[in-house]
Symmetry: C2
């Protein structure tokens, strides 16, 4: 009875039952989502969708984040903000399933919260937690077969997470919540074959729309199957060849997936993160030790998990997109600039002489004894000195989470490009204040 | 190269290359779709969706058929008309895949044609044919495994058919058409577990929306995978365990699936049709032979394919919905009323004494020697006479298609309930005139 179990849990979840670390994780997840959505607002994948769909836009109740106060109906806002939040691949990650959990859920929830009006921050947090737990537990229930088959798990479970979140916000009773889950589950959106195209981030936005639509229909009495998840021809069996959904749902409310949500410090493939982390630390140490800079570097040796070279072994990236798949560029910006934000992945940085010079001095070797979030870096300086760094867990992992200050730097870095520095700081401040807010619509 | 093959074929298809029987089939398919969409316009599954989604409705460019001139944006019109056209399970059937082909395709196409304005009837027919061939060939390519797994094939392939049709109408070039196919393919909507709920017809409308969205995005340069159908983790492999898509696409333009499209004469499960057909013929013969009526009947014996009793063996249906699954009700309305339209499935008819009396005199026996579209009926009259009827192929099958006059009776029967008799006749007349029409938007 997975569908009933999930619906029942979500309907009965109360704010007072949320542990403090869960509330904190929800605030951080929301905060990081807003930063990513603003940061992706001007990306062509976002603006093209927005322009193409303008003829369908309805009554303007909900914000298009980072688009100068532009508003549209809640369904299109969910779609466009969802696309924007994922387009730089810079959003959050539930590491045990590689679901990006907040995009589908918050994009639907925030758009509907604005449309409804007067939604309190705590009610928003409660709905966000319900939606993220739902999608991550279901995702764990079909992982890894579901992903292996070729489904983009973020959006396939994201539709259901978004439905649960919006359903919770709209206070659906249990049976209606089952129908909402069902109507979302039948819209299975996202093939991995789309990776590398505009459609990858479209999946996130469409999942948000699917879930919002499901909840809004169910709230009016629309019916789906009451056993949509577990039926003989239900979601779990159709989208995966194996599942342990029941086991996963048994831990709802005792093991919180949102507390395991991780935030990317760098806008590139997560396997490059240990190298970047180590190189940024080495940049600081070189500066601290007698003002050394990257110009003093003779050569650099990097040892990494084999997957790193398989996925990100591009030696001479020619633009920002290719640079995301280059451990060499990642190391170089860390060493030269001490930073790896969106600005360091701009085309002109990727092709700049100072970066290319250091990039070409880096050699990388696969080392099966290392974990995927681990790296060993040795910098040989021209004066004969060597510096070494062993990153055991990269920043942004569950073991070494980003601090609030680091999250804020990431937020402001992204939002400044769109809103200017002052605007970014001001939105940052109000978004941190989600908990206890009287009206979440006032946040942006 | 299935994606490229399909896109290329659709882009190059010209009206002059369509055989006359294909054009005729397209006109009949469109005509039958309009009748079904009007006939389903007032069903609660349609009106609930319409009411729930009103807050999202955009600029009114496109008609909600049968809703007194109501209009909305093309995307929502595609959804709502798609739901309406399928809600009575009275639409068309591509018998070798049991796809209902016109719902997803025409719902998207007509809504977009109205929004674009000035679309000629012949261009509409051309796009409709392209979309229907695309969905049926892809459907045959994954049939039957895809359906066995649990996918509602009408909507899963319908999304792609709708994208091809709208893409054709918008004159996409080949690469854009590949992207449109791709963006549609990644939105896999429809689990069979939803059968028997509002969500079954939602699938048809959502498929129309998915396809329209895909085409509109692709027209603006949005990218998906260029190998979405055939890739290692592409559509065919993800949604089916076996496929022969390439073989099916090889017959594009030489074997026309739309010419195999069948129309339901009766608004109930297709397996009951041979019995209804035979009973209507017996009703006429009893009348012709000395004015006998159902009141003269002692008992009736029916022999049918075993599936008929498995699917429609309900002996004492209590309302119209249950009656759709009762071969006994089907036989009774044929014998008593000589007709089996939507009016004969109203609750009060199902419970009326004259129908119940005859219904209870019918016994049905499974006979493995009979085909699924075959039935043998023997009526024993009180005066000792017996009448027999052997229906070899039910009306509405490929072997015994509905005549234009019968299609028109079906159309008027459905549309009259919503538009009144005169309105129904007048819409019927203009819809028959699709070919050569200067502006399809003027049809409704």
């Amino acid at each position: 009875m997975a569908t009933e179990k999930l619906a029942s849990w979500a309907v009965n979840l109360s704010y007072s039952s949320l542990p403090p670390e869960v509330i904190q994780a929800a605030v951080s997840s929301f905060y990081n989502w807003v930063g990513c959505a603003i940061g992706g607002a001007l990306h062509p994948t976002t603006t093209t969708a927005s322009e193409a769909l303008t003829p369908f836009f309805g009554k303007a109740t909900s914000s298009l984040l980072g688009q100068k106060g532009a508003r549209t109906d809640a369904s299109h806002a969910a779609l466009i903000n969802g696309i924007a939040s994922h387009v730089h691949d810079y959003d959050d990650t539930h590491l045990s399933t590689i679901i990006h959990p907040t995009g589908p859920v918050a994009s639907a929830l925030f758009a509907q919260a604005e449309a409804l009006g007067g939604v309190k921050g705590d009610d928003f947090i409660l709905a966000l937690v319900a939606g993220i737990e739902a999608e991550c537990k279901l995702g764990m229930g079909v992982w890894p077969k579901h992903y292996d088959i070729g489904w983009h798990i973020t959006s396939t479970v994201g539709s259901i997470g978004a439905a649960v979140a919006v359903g919770k916000l709209m206070r659906l009773e249990r049976t209606s919540m089952q129908h909402a889950i069902s109507i979302a589950a039948t819209q299975v959106t996202g093939l991995r074959d789309m990776f590398g195209t505009d459609t990858k981030s479209f999946h996130v936005g469409r999942a948000a729309q699917n879930g919002l639509l499901a909840a809004v229909l169910a709230a009016r009495g629309y019916t789906g199957s009451l056993q949509a998840i577990e039926a003989k021809r239900g979601w779990a069996r159709v989208v995966s060849t194996e599942n342990n959904v029941d086991d996963q749902l048994a831990t709802l409310g005792t093991e919180w997936e949102i507390a395991r949500n991780a935030f990317k410090p760098f806008p590139c493939g997560i396997v490059v993160h240990p190298v970047i982390d180590g190189c940024i630390q080495l940049h600081r140490e070189m500066g601290a030790e007698g003002g050394r800079t990257a110009a003093d570097i003779e050569r650099v040796e990097v040892r990494v998990h084999p997957l790193v070279l398989e996925l990100t072994g591009k030696k001479t990236p020619q633009d920002g997109l290719q640079a995301k798949f280059s451990v060499y560029h990642g190391g170089a910006i860390g060493l030269v600039l001490g930073k790896a934000g969106p600005a360091q992945y701009e085309d002109q940085v990727v092709l700049s002489k100072e970066i290319v010079t250091v990039r070409d001095k880096i050699s990388a070797t696969a080392d099966e004894s290392l974990g995927a979030d681990e790296a060993k870096i040795t910098v040989y300086l021209k004066n004969g000195t060597t510096l070494t760094k062993h990153v055991q867990h990269a920043i942004g992992s569950v073991e070494v989470p980003m601090t609030p200050a680091q999250l804020e730097e990431k937020f402001v870095d992204q939002a400044s490009v769109v809103l200017g520095a002052q605007g970014a700081q001001s939105v940052s401040k109000v978004c941190w204040a989600l908990q206890g807010s009287a009206n979440v619509a006032a946040l942006v």
